[in-house]
C-alpha cells in the first residue's frame, strides 16, 4: 500500500483506461459494513489495518471485527484513500451503517456487491495450468495488464499481497529474476541454529552477489522500500555495552593451534560421554585449558574499575561462551571452571545450550562472567577481532578447524588439524608478553592433551 506505487499506476495507466462512470473525481464514498450472516446486526471493532490518509486497493483488509466467537475480516470494495474511520477500537459497529469513508479515484472501477473471481482472458493452455495449480489467482486489472504486457503467466508468480494476491511488486520481482538482475537480499535474516559466534566477524559473502546483470530492453523499476525501526530492548542494551567496550584500548594477538592429537582424543572420549548422556564438543577442552592458563596468569581473569584505578583479581573462573540465539548474541558462563572436570564442563555446556535455544536462560547464567571464549569457527572464518565484554579484560575467538599440511619433526609433511585463535586484551593492564605467554600455555595444553593431566585440578 505505498503511495509511490499508486502514483506510478496513475501515470502509466491514465491514458489506457477507458470507462464511463457516474462517480466524479475524488468523491467520498461511505463504505458500509455489509451483512455478516446469521442475522448478526452488531459487531465489535477489534483491529484497524488502515488509518486516515492511507491508500487502499480493492480487496485490501480494512479492519477485523468480532461477533460472538466469529472473527471477520472486512475488505475494501474500492481503490482510494481512507478519509475517515467511523469507529474506535472496541466500539460496537452496526451492519448497514458506514464503517469508513473512502475517497475514490474517478477512473477506477468499483467492485460490484457480488464478489466475482476473475479469470483472465488468456490462452486455453494457461487456463488449464491455473486449474492444475488448483487456486484462483487474485490480481487487480492493472496488475493483470502488466503481466500480459510482459508475457508472464500469473500462475507462475507467487503473490505476496493479502490473500496471496499478486501485486505489481511480485510481477517486477518475477521479471527481475528472469533477466538475472541482482535482487536485494530478503529482509528476514536466516534462522541460524544456536551456536556461539563472535559479534564482530561477518559471514562469508555468497556467490550470488557477484553475478553480472544481463542488459534488458525494458527498464526495471525497483519496488523495494527502506524500513526504519527503533532500536529497542536487548539490542538497545547491547548498543550501550558495546559502546563501553570500545572505550577499552584493545590489542590483539593471534596464533595457530595444532589440534591433531585433541581431535583423536575427543573421538575416543565422545562415546564415553554419550553413555553418560552428554554431548562432548571441543569447547570443554578449550575452556578447561583456559582455566589452567588463568591460574598462571590471573591478571587475565581480572576486572578494573571505571577509572582504571583499582584492579580486582577474580577468584572464580566463570568462563563465558558466546551463543547465538533468537535474542541475538548472549554470553552465558560456566561457573567455577577451576574446580570442574572436563566432563562437568561439557555437561554444564549442554544445559546452557538447551536453555539458550529455548530462551530460558536465567540472570544467574548470564551474569558474573570473568573471561570469554567465542567459537565463531562453528559458523566459519579463521581470524577475528573480538570485542572484550566489560567488565572483563580479555576474550578469545576460535576459528574453524581446517585440515592443512604441516611439517613434523622429521621434516615430513603430514595432515594437521589446525585452528586459529585470536585474543583481544585490555592494553591498559595487560601487556603483549603476558598475553603471548598465556596463549602459549593454553596452546601447549591443547596440542599435547596429556600435559593437561599433570596440571589438572
Amino acid at each position: 500500500m505505498s503511495i509511490f506505487d499508486k502514483s506510478a499506476f496513475k501515470f502509466s495507466h491514465q491514458h489506457r483506461l477507458f470507462r464511463t462512470s457516474a462517480i466524479s473525481n475524488g468523491q467520498i464514498v461511505q463504505f458500509k459494513l455489509s451483512d455478516i450472516g446469521e442475522g448478526i446486526t452488531e459487531v465489535t471493532v477489534k483491529e484497524w489495518y488502515v488509518k486516515e490518509g492511507d491508500s487502499v486497493s480493492q480487496f485490501d483488509s480494512i479492519c477485523e471485527v468480532q461477533s460472538d466467537k466469529a472473527s471477520v475480516t472486512i475488505t475494501s470494495r474500492y481503490d482510494g484513500i481512507i478519509r475517515k474511520l467511523h469507529y474506535n477500537l472496541d466500539e460496537i459497529a452496526y451492519v448497514g451503517k458506514p464503517l469508513v469513508d473512502i475517497e475514490t479515484d474517478a477512473l477506477k472501477d468499483v467492485a460490484s456487491e457480488e464478489d466475482v473471481v476473475e479469470t483472465p482472458a488468456v490462452s486455453h493452455e494457461e487456463h488449464t495450468h491455473q486449474e492444475i495449480k488448483g487456486h484462483k489467482t487474485l490480481a487487480t486489472p492493472a496488475v493483470r495488464r502488466l503481466a500480459m504486457e510482459n508475457n508472464i503467466k500469473l500462475s507462475e508468480v507467487v503473490g505476496t499481497g493479502k490473500d496471496n494476491r499478486i501485486l505489481k511488486e511480485d510481477i517486477l520481482n518475477y521479471l527481475a529474476k528472469q533477466t538475472g538482475a541482482i535482487l536485494p537480499p530478503s529482509p528476514k535474516p536466516e534462522i541460524i541454529p544456536p551456536l556461539p559466534k563472535s559479534e564482530t566477524a561477518p559471514a562469508a559473502p555468497k556467490d550470488k552477489g557477484t553475478k553480472i546483470p544481463i542488459p534488458i530492453s525494458k527498464p526495471i523499476v525497483f519496488a523495494g522500500k527502506d524500513k526504519t525501526e527503533a532500536v529497542t530492548g536487548f539490542h538497545k542494551a547491547m548498543v550501550k555495552t558495546m559502546t563501553a567496550a570500545l572505550k577499552i584500548p584493545h590489542f590483539g594477538y593471534c596464533d595457530e593451534i595444532d589440534l591433531t592429537q585433541l581431535v583423536q582424543l575427543r573421538e575416543e572420549l565422545k562415546p564415553l560421554a554419550q553413555v553418560r548422556g552428554v554431548k562432548l564438543s571441543f569447547m570443554p577442552f578449550f575452556i578447561k585449558a583456559a582455566s589452567l592458563g588463568l591460574l598462571h596468569y590471573p591478571i587475565l581473569n581480572a576486572s578494573v574499575d571505571e577509572n582504571c584505578q583499582n584492579i580486582t583479581y577474580k577468584a572464580s573462573h566463570n568462563i563465558g561462551v558466546a551463543m547465538d540465539t533468537e535474542q541475538g548474541l548472549i554470553v552465558p558462563n560456566v561457573k567455577n571452571v577451576q574446580v570442574c572436570s572436563v566432563f562437568e564442563i561439557a555437561s554444564e555446556l549442554n544445559r546452557l545450550l538447551t536453555l539458550g535455544s529455548a530462551g530460558q536462560l536465567g540472570t544467574n547464567d548470564l551474569t558474573g562472567g570473568t573471561f570469554t571464549l567465542s567459537n565463531i569457527g562453528t559458523i566459519g572464518g579463521t581470524y577475528a577481532k573480538p570485542v572484550i565484554l566489560p567488565p572483563e579484560v580479555a576474550i578469545g575467538a576460535l576459528g574453524k578447524i581446517q585440515v592443512l599440511p604441516r611439517f613434523n619433526g622429521n621434516g615430513e609433511v603430514f595432515k594437521a588439524q589446525i585452528m586459529n585463535v585470536s585474543w583481544s586484551a585490555d592494553h591498559r593492564i595487560i601487556d603483549g608478553a603476558t598475553m603471548a605467554r598465556f596463549s602459549n600455555l593454553w596452546k601447549s595444553y591443547l596440542e599435547n592433551p596429556a600435559s593437561m593431566l599433570i596440571d589438572l585440578k
Partner: protein, 373 residues
C-alpha cells in the same frame, strides 16, 4: 522421496480442485474431506489459512480433520497472559498458538479432535455443523447425551462442555471450527488454562471457564479415530459425496503453494504475542533481601506485545534511583518477554558499577519483574 500413496492423494486433490476451479456444476463432487497427517498446530492452522485464501468454495464445501500435539490455542483477539499459564507451558514445552478465528482459549492434545467446516460466506451456518456432529456421535453411541447450546458449545450430560466453537469470515469464504474432547489430558488442561498473572486490565476477549469432560470418560470404547470417521461419514451423507478421507501433508508446497510462508507467519512472535490488544499490569509483589521484606509496586503498559510504559516503585534508596531509571528506560520498547528481559538486564549489568550488593539487588529485582511475564 515421493511415496506412491501420497502421490495418489496429490493427484486426487489436483483432480478435485481442478474441477472446482473450472466452475463446472459438478454435483457429484460438491465436497471434500481432508485429514492432516501432521500434529503441528502451526502447520494445521496454515492449512486453514491456505484453504481460506485459495480455494473456490462457491459450489463446494470442505471438512478438515486435525489433531495437535500439546498446545494452547488462543483466539484472534485474546491476551495469552490473561488466558493461560505461560510459565508452566514453557517448562513443559507446551506450545502457544494464536488462531485467526475469534472465540476463547482451548487446550489441544492428541485426545482433542478439531473439525473445520469450510463454506462460502453465504452458506456459513454454525448450528447446522454442530447438529451434524451430534448426529454422528449419536449414530455411534445412541445413549450419549450430547446436545448443542445456543452459545455453540456441545454439552455432555447437560453439564460438561466437550466442544467449543470459533469462526472466521473473510471476503468470500467462511470457516467454522470446533474442538471435541475425546481423551485429552484434563489434568494438564486445567493447570495450563488458569492464568497466574494478577492485575491485568485489558479489553481482550475473555474466555468463559467451563466444566469439561472427555467422551472417553463416558464411554471408554470410544476412540478419536472412531469419532473422526463417524463425523466424516455423516458429512459425506449430508453433502452426498464420497465417504473418502484424503490425507494431506501441510508441509507439501506442491499441493499447497505458499503454505510454508503461512506456517512461518503463525509462528512469529509478532503474531502470537504481538497481536495482543493493548493491556496494562498494575500489581505489587514482595521480595526478600537479606532478611528484610520489600514491597515493590509495578505499573506496566503493553502494546503490540512490547512495553510502552514502565514504572517500578521501589522502597526508597534500596537501589540507586539512576539504576532503577535505567532499567525502566531500557524496558520501554522491549518485548514483554522473560528471555528478552533477562538478556537485556544481564547486558546492562556489564556497564554499571561492579559492586556485589548492587548486582545481587538488580538480579533479584529483574527476576521478580520477569515473573510478571
Amino acid at each position: 522421496m515421493v511415496i506412491p500413496s501420497s502421490l495418489k492423494n496429490c493427484f486426487q486433490l489436483f483432480y478435485v480442485l481442478k474441477i472446482s476451479a473450472a466452475g463446472f456444476k459438478y454435483t457429484a463432487n460438491r465436497g471434500l474431506i481432508l485429514q492432516s497427517v501432521s500434529s503441528d498446530v502451526y502447520q494445521n492452522l496454515a492449512v486453514e489459512d491456505w484453504i481460506h485464501d485459495n480455494m473456490n468454495l462457491e459450489n463446494r464445501q470442505v471438512l478438515f480433520l486435525w489433531r495437535n500435539s500439546p498446545t494452547v490455542v488462543i483466539g484472534r483477539h485474546q491476551n495469552p497472559w490473561q488466558e493461560c499459564n505461560l510459565k508452566i507451558m514453557r517448562k513443559k514445552n507446551i506450545k502457544l498458538a494464536r488462531r485467526r478465528s475469534g472465540g476463547g482459549t482451548v487446550y489441544h492434545d492428541l485426545g482433542n479432535i478439531n473439525f473445520t467446516f469450510f463454506t462460502s460466506k453465504k452458506k456459513y451456518e454454525r448450528m447446522e455443523n454442530l447438529k451434524l456432529v451430534v448426529r454422528a456421535l449419536k449414530g455411534l453411541r445412541p445413549q450419549l447425551d450430547v446436545r448443542a447450546t445456543d452459545r455453540y458449545d456441545l454439552l455432555l450430560d447437560g453439564n460438561f462442555k466437550i466442544s467449543g466453537t470459533a469462526a472466521k469470515l473473510g471476503r468470500t469464504v467462511a470457516y467454522h471450527h470446533c474442538t471435541l474432547l475425546c481423551s485429552a489430558d484434563r489434568f494438564i488442561l486445567s493447570s495450563v488454562l488458569k492464568s497466574p498473572y494478577k492485575g491485568i486490565k485489558s479489553n481482550a476477549t475473555p474466555s468463559m471457564p467451563a466444566l469439561v469432560k472427555n467422551l472417553f470418560e463416558e464411554d471408554p470404547t470410544l476412540t478419536c479415530e472412531m469419532v473422526m470417521d463417524a463425523v466424516a461419514a455423516e458429512y459425506a451423507r449430508c453433502h452426498q459425496i464420497d465417504h473418502r478421507i484424503t490425507l494431506i501433508n501441510p508441509a507439501d508446497e506442491i499441493v499447497f503453494p505458499g503454505i510454508n510462508n503461512k506456517t512461518k507467519e503463525l509462528q512469529t512472535w509478532e503474531w502470537i504475542y504481538g497481536k495482543t490488544p493493548k493491556f496494562s499490569i498494575s500489581t505489587c509483589f514482595n521480595m526478600v533481601y537479606e532478611q528484610s521484606l520489600l514491597e515493590v509496586k509495578v505499573d506496566i503498559h503493553v502494546k503490540h506485545g512490547r512495553i510502552e510504559v514502565c514504572n517500578i516503585d521501589l522502597p526508597e534508596q534500596w537501589l540507586p534511583p539512576a539504576m532503577c531509571n535505567e532499567l525502566e528506560k531500557n524496558l520501554i520498547g522491549s518485548k514483554f518477554c522473560p528471555s528478552e528481559t533477562t538478556a537485556l538486564a544481564s547486558a546492562l549489568l556489564r556497564i554499571c558499577p561492579q559492586n556485589y550488593e548492587l548486582h545481587s539487588k538488580w538480579s533479584l529485582l529483574c527476576e521478580n519483574v520477569m515473573t510478571l511475564m
